[in-house]
């Protein structure tokens, strides 16, 4: 957190209303995002129990798992989810195949309520992408395909500059500071309470209300423990019993009971999911209402290219992602993420005065007035004279740039300026800059291309240019310090001897004990 965002939090607490910490929007918001709200069984690494999903806010689709501990039920859920997600993705990859370096005109965008949803997405992807589609335990082909795509989106969510997967809490808290702590901002309803409280409530009241799971169901993926205890346990038990009804007439009756209970289960889960559904779409609206920053479209183009590339890879029979990156791949990926972060920081600063203000606080940028300008200065040292105007700015800001440093101004991002010298006197610093580009071709500067006296300008050491990651050894040259060359990646091996759910599930042993105790168990300690 920076001093400026801390100050904004303090102002928000004082005024009882969230404060903007960004002047423009720095994420892309699709015209038709796919909102996904997953719910999972508490305690399990990845046992989905329901999801509300759709790209039309007036028509959410509710998927429900009859018994989250049952293998067939879980794969049925995965297949239904695949139907919706792959259908949505497919609509963005339906047109004519773009040329090598081109991209589809638009890319899919997933919007989840919170970071927990991303973890769930990653784990669901992990648990489905290696599933065999033939032989014992076969699943529909859509299931591993879903697994690959969910893994792809969860991985893209790690990229600071990517908008392919957004979380409502993440995107909102990147643009607004609330009068509560960052930990409390993880609650979507509370966060929105500060940004846009429901009519008749103050922000504080709305945030408090959001913490009462009885009146405001959690946005998942975990459900409210009291809801588990009071509602889910009984319904799952009823479904399990109806399935164990026996053969013949009893089985028919059992199936009828199961359908009845499923209707009840759906009703309960709809009640739990609908408030969050509305909140996520409200978040989308709030973000969309902010003007987009100058570089948002450029970053979305990178996202479209990435999406196009992955769609092509899968279509050409690409493997599911490995469980863990090999050493060289991991190092390359980290370097790439760091480079992207630096570029994003610079882009946001150039697009947004509130972000640049943070750099002005830390000395990575300064703002000053031009006190001297030599627009026609020529550098005669080489074979041919070059136009190299000098300007001198005076500023009260701290200047950390050393002579020789290359600076840019957000007002003239295409113009390189090198620091010639700095001199500080009585708390004011004079910085002399040599302009090196962006003045036209001749030996006289194009009109308006050189700042004039009295102009107020901001300069920064932030650079918009992407710093390519350093070279890494090829896979086969992985040094011994990093385990040596990794074995050839064979995705088929990864699925072997890995039951989606272990033996404890298969024989149902603990399923029995589980439900019994869940019913008997009172208030947990």
């Amino acid at each position: 957190m920076t001093t400026l965002t801390s100050l904004a939090r303090i102002e928000a607490a004082d005024q009882g209303r969230a404060q903007l910490i960004r002047a423009v929007r720095h994420v892309h918001v699709s015209d038709r995002p796919l909102v996904v709200i997953p719910l999972q069984l508490a305690g399990e690494p990845c046992a989905p129990l329901a999801a509300m999903i759709g790209d039309d806010r007036s028509a959410p689709r509710l998927l429900v798992v009859a018994n989250p501990l049952n293998r067939e039920d879980r794969f049925r859920f995965a297949a239904e989810l695949a139907g919706v997600v792959l259908g949505y993705i497919g609509r963005h990859a339906a047109g004519p195949e773009p040329a090598e370096k081109e991209a589809y005109p638009d890319a899919p965008q997933l919007v989840l309520p919170n970071a927990g949803g991303v973890t769930f997405t990653r784990l669901l992807g992990r648990s489905t992408r290696f599933r065999p589609t033939a032989g014992p335990g076969a699943v529909p082909a859509a299931v591993p395909a879903l697994g690959c795509w969910l893994t792809y989106f969860a991985e893209r969510a790690q990229h600071p500059a990517s908008s392919l997967l957004l979380t409502a809490t993440g995107a909102l808290s990147a643009h607004w500071a609330t009068g509560q702590s960052a930990a409390e901002d993880q609650n979507l309803a509370a966060l929105l309470g500060w940004i846009s409280p429901p009519p008749g409530l103050t922000s504080r009241q709305a945030a408090l209300l959001a913490e009462d799971p009885a009146r405001c169901p959690p946005a998942g993926p975990a459900t409210d423990p009291a809801f588990d205890r009071d509602v889910l346990v009984e319904l799952y038990k009823a479904i399990k019993e109806s399935r164990a009804a026996g053969a013949g007439e009893a089985a028919v009756e059992g199936a009828a009971t199961e359908r009845r209970v499923l209707v009840l289960l759906e009703r309960e889960l709809r009640l739990v999911l609908e408030p969050t559904w509305r909140l996520v779409w409200q978040s989308v609206d709030l973000l969309r209402a902010l003007p987009a920053g100058g570089h948002v479209a450029q970053r979305w183009t990178s996202d479209r290219k990435s999406f196009t590339g992955y769609a092509r890879y899968l279509r050409d029979g690409g493997f599911p992602q490995a469980k863990r990156d090999a050493a060289v791949d991991a190092a390359r990926r980290l370097a790439r993420l760091e480079g992207e972060q630096e570029q994003l920081d610079a882009q946001m600063a150039f697009d947004d005065p509130l972000v640049m203000a943070e750099h002005l606080m830390t000395g990575r940028a300064f703002e000053g007035v031009v006190v001297q300008a030599e627009p026609h200065r020529l550098d005669q040292s080489g074979k041919r004279a070059k136009l190299r105007p000098w300007i001198t700015l005076e500023t009260a800001d701290e200047v950390t740039a050393e002579p020789g440093a290359e600076l840019r101004s957000p007002a003239r991002p295409g113009q390189k300026a090198a620091v010639i010298e700095t001199a500080t006197l009585n708390g004011r610093t004079r910085v002399t800059l040599e302009l090196q580009s962006g003045m036209g071709r001749g030996l006289a500067p194009a009109p308006g291309s050189v700042p004039e006296r009295e102009d107020v300008l901001c300069y920064t050491t932030l650079t918009l240019e992407f710093q390519p990651p350093p070279g890494f050894p090829a896979r086969e040259d992985t040094p011994w310090t990093h385990g040596g060359p990794p074995p050839e990646y064979v995705p088929a091996d990864q699925a072997v001897a890995e039951p989606w759910d272990g033996s404890a599930w298969e024989d149902g042993a603990w399923e029995d004990t589980a439900w019994e105790e869940a019913v008997q168990g009172g208030e947990p300690s």
Partner: protein, 390 residues
């Protein structure tokens, strides 16, 4: 995760009679609440909080107090989570000489020949820890664990340790203790959160590590110089999406160090009690049907007489968090430790803004001069940037 962990009373051998009387009065007839590794870990996470220290020392039931005072605590455990915990632990312990032993043998290089499983819950005491005589159980644990090495087993289930915290003793029940025949004990923690592709939720592993550290300290206290307790503890958790157990060793030296530092910093309970006004009580004054006769405001008033040290981190660990947060409203600390630091340590939200926007009629005192300059600069930049938007 042991179902029976946290059994027993907080009252122990420690403390003077006068202290005991004072604490019993504060508790006021409630059943004493026991410490467990989790509460000790939580206590150590905020050693500067007198309210928590006193409420814990008096072994009050904080969740009941918070609820009665109008600020029910946000913690609940899903029956699904608990069932998974119980089922996973049972799947290991029902046949301890199978998977559990194999795992520990591989992880700790245990001696095969002398492998043995000892249930420290003496005969006649059932597995749920039904014995009310905790002192007797603890003595039994001590006898078994300090017996000559030849007579010792390899795995000890249901051990009962004691731990001195805030000048008093608490009983602790680790999941399992393993003994290696090179003379070292290892604390074993069984957790039901999944380890997928060798990675688990960092927060959960961190919590397990600090709990293990508490057990290591307690076990060292028990065995004294008769044996070594390793700082390498064993975490057993289900692998990937299955129920197959996987074991990993965790070096808890860092956690032990932090714990010892924080516990030693904690004021002794006598010193804390000296600051608590005479005559206050946290009694709920229940009638025979268990209904409290105490007016919530009255309880609230007494609770507020013991100073709290609220930080948003409390929301994850302390039952009193909503009450303390309510009190801390209007302070920078309630917005996060980092916010308070960025505000130069100034407590009051209103004062920060008066300083930042230069509305304070009084001159800025020297001790916050530097912070004030930074705040004014931030305020000016913020105003300029936002002004440029209009």
């Amino acid at each position: 995760m042991t179902a029976g962990s946290g059994t027993g009373g907080g009252a122990g051998q420690g403390g003077t009679a006068a202290t005991e009387r004072r604490l019993a009065m504060l508790r006021g007839g409630q059943l004493p609440q026991a410490h467990n590794a989790r509460t000790i870990a939580a206590l150590a996470s905020n050693p500067g909080c007198a309210r928590r220290a006193v409420l814990d020392a008096a072994a009050t039931r904080k969740h009941e107090l918070a609820a009665h005072a109008g600020f029910p605590s946000p913690f609940g455990e899903s029956p699904f989570t608990r069932n998974r915990d119980v089922a996973f632990e049972r799947s290991l312990k029902d046949e301890p000489d199978k998977e559990l032993l194999t795992l520990l043998r591989e992880t700790l290089d245990l001696d095969i020949a002398e492998a043995g499983y000892t249930d420290l819950n003496a005969p006649g005491w059932n597995a749920a820890g039904a014995s009310r005589d905790l002192a007797a159980r603890h003595v039994h644990t001590r006898q078994q664990l300090t017996a000559p090495a030849r007579q010792r087993g390899t795995m000890f289930d249901h051990p009962l340790l004691t731990f001195r915290v805030g000048g008093r003793h608490a009983y602790l029940e680790p999941d399992l203790i393993a003994f290696r025949h090179d003379g070292t004990f290892h604390v074993v923690e069984i957790k039901s959160f999944a380890v997928v592709d060798g990675q688990a939720d960092g927060a959960k592993v961190g919590a397990a590590a600090i709990q293990s550290a508490v057990y290591v300290l307690a076990l060292r206290d028990l065995v004294g110089d008769q044996a070594t307790v390793a700082h390498e503890t064993v975490l057993i958790a289900p692998r990937d999406f299955s129920f197959t157990p996987a074991a990993a060793t965790i070096d808890v030296r860092k956690q032990i160090g932090a714990l010892q530092r924080q516990l030693s910093r904690m004021d002794s309970i006598d010193r804390l009690l000296a600051q608590v006004p005479e005559g206050i009580s946290f009694s709920l004054d229940r009638d025979e049907r268990g209904v409290s006769r105490r007016h919530p405001d009255d309880l609230l008033r007494d609770l507020r007489l013991v100073e709290a040290n609220y930080a948003p981190e409390c929301l994850a660990t302390c039952e009193m968090c909503y009450l303390c947060r309510d009190e801390a409203s209007g302070t920078t600390g309630a917005l996060g430790r980092s916010v308070r630091e960025e505000a130069g340590g100034i407590e009051s939200v209103a004062r920060v803004l008066r300083v930042a926007y230069e509305k304070d009629p009084l001159p800025v005192p020297d001790d916050i001069a530097e912070a004030a300059a930074i705040l004014r600069r931030a305020a000016a930049l913020r105003r300029a940037a936002l002004g440029g938007l209009g």
